[in-house]
Symmetry: C2
Subunit: 237 residues, 2 copies
């Protein structure tokens, strides 16, 4: 198989660098095609221990500077993990995050990392939205995005119909209930709009509208930060 | 004055793009040298309204594609604000954030944006650390970094001696007190280590050690997220 630079329609994707590749190797339900090694970094302890883990998992490792340079945007990428894309549907018993039209790969990466840290493992993504398999999402999440359950939907109502047992909390600036006053009923879904437009009007009146109180010195918190603070508060009670 | 690409030792810096430049124009105690305009974007409404604000503030605007291309790393930068660097010492009556050896400009930007959103305006930075005037910090903060009070210190004890009225809370994973159990006495200082090493050992036993409870599915929250969650919790009480 001749590996090609990442595109959404490929049925495989990449972890770029040692950290996300190490996480990839920890996840037993992902089919790993191979690990590519940059000969420049072959002697590094981190890389050597990665190769050892790969071998113990029966994953092929290949030194190929040519492949690394073709596939990685950064010159100094030490290793690349190649894996088959997979499906991992949401758990209907657990609480979810829903992201409507999330566009920025750094944000989606940071959000999945923060979700895992706070014990929420399921994310619904409403299209159009960034591709959760994009290597830059995986990199920003330090591999955490490979551990979450996820499902894409064309419309929020589709999600809502499928997981109708969830209590919906929609986050937007003008909402009536300040975060610290919300009593979260589990399983819950915390719903967020995207980086520029926030939450679309037609979703705002579903469930309980929640605002995160903030000064008017800035336009808003960034998206990942809003999700993180909401997750902390919801988990606190 | 021939403007040069940003370096730490220059006595001026830049806001790259419309959003941070608009914030720059709102801040009355900053000396703005001039606003540079990219002729390609001159007719955009956002740019026209920016020019109007600049004129009403008596700030010179210049169309110069050459200067824009020399100073901005991104091709499609519409405007650049040029301003004199300034000092703005911490307010000893108010609560602070202290960042020990923060290295990543995106993190410092996101942290200042989040601080302002949650009403904390003062940041102490312990060297070695990223330069708060770097255009990429300003961009990541969407201009918020220009609004905070800040001071650099060589050692944490220097900061502590100067602001000895503050109650110190040091954040690290192994600390004894979980965040939700802390009673924050004002004015407080929330102290964080950097992205890789966390907080140095010799600072950990100063004040109250605080941990943010999280699963072991990820190595840690990212730095900006930790600061944001701590600020939310401290402000909540």
């Amino acid at each position: 198989m001749k590996l090609r630079p990442y595109k959404k329609n490929l049925d495989y994707s990449y972890t770029l660098g040692v950290h996300p590749t190490r996480v990839l190797l920890e996840i037993s339900d992902i089919e790993i095609v191979q690990i590519l090694i940059n000969s420049q970094f072959e002697k590094l302890d981190d890389v050597k221990s990665l190769v050892k883990i790969a071998k113990s998992r029966g994953v092929m490792t290949t030194v190929s500077d040519k492949a690394i340079h073709r596939l990685a945007p950064k010159e100094n990428t030490a290793v690349i993990g190649v894996f088959k894309k997979f499906e991992r549907a949401l758990d209907e018993e657990r609480s979810h995050i829903a992201l409507v039209n999330v566009r920025n790969s750094g944000n989606l990466g940071t959000i999945t990392r923060t979700m895992l840290a706070f014990g929420v493992k399921d994310v619904a993504i409403i299209r159009p939205a960034v591709d959760i398999f994009h290597p830059s999402v995986i990199a920003a999440s330090v591999g955490a995005s490979l551990k979450v359950n996820f499902e894409y939907f064309e419309f929020f109502v589709e999600y809502q119909r499928k997981y109708e047992n969830h209590s919906i909390y929609t986050f937007f600036k003008e909402a009536n209930t300040p975060l610290q006053n919300v009593k979260f009923n589990e399983p819950f879904t915390l719903v967020f709009g995207n980086e520029n437009q926030g939450l679309p009007e037609n979703i705002r009146n579903i469930g309980t509208g929640v605002s995160i109180p903030q000064t008017d010195e800035v336009e808003s918190l960034n998206l990942a930060m809003s999700v993180g603070v909401a997750l902390w508060e919801a988990g606190r009670k």
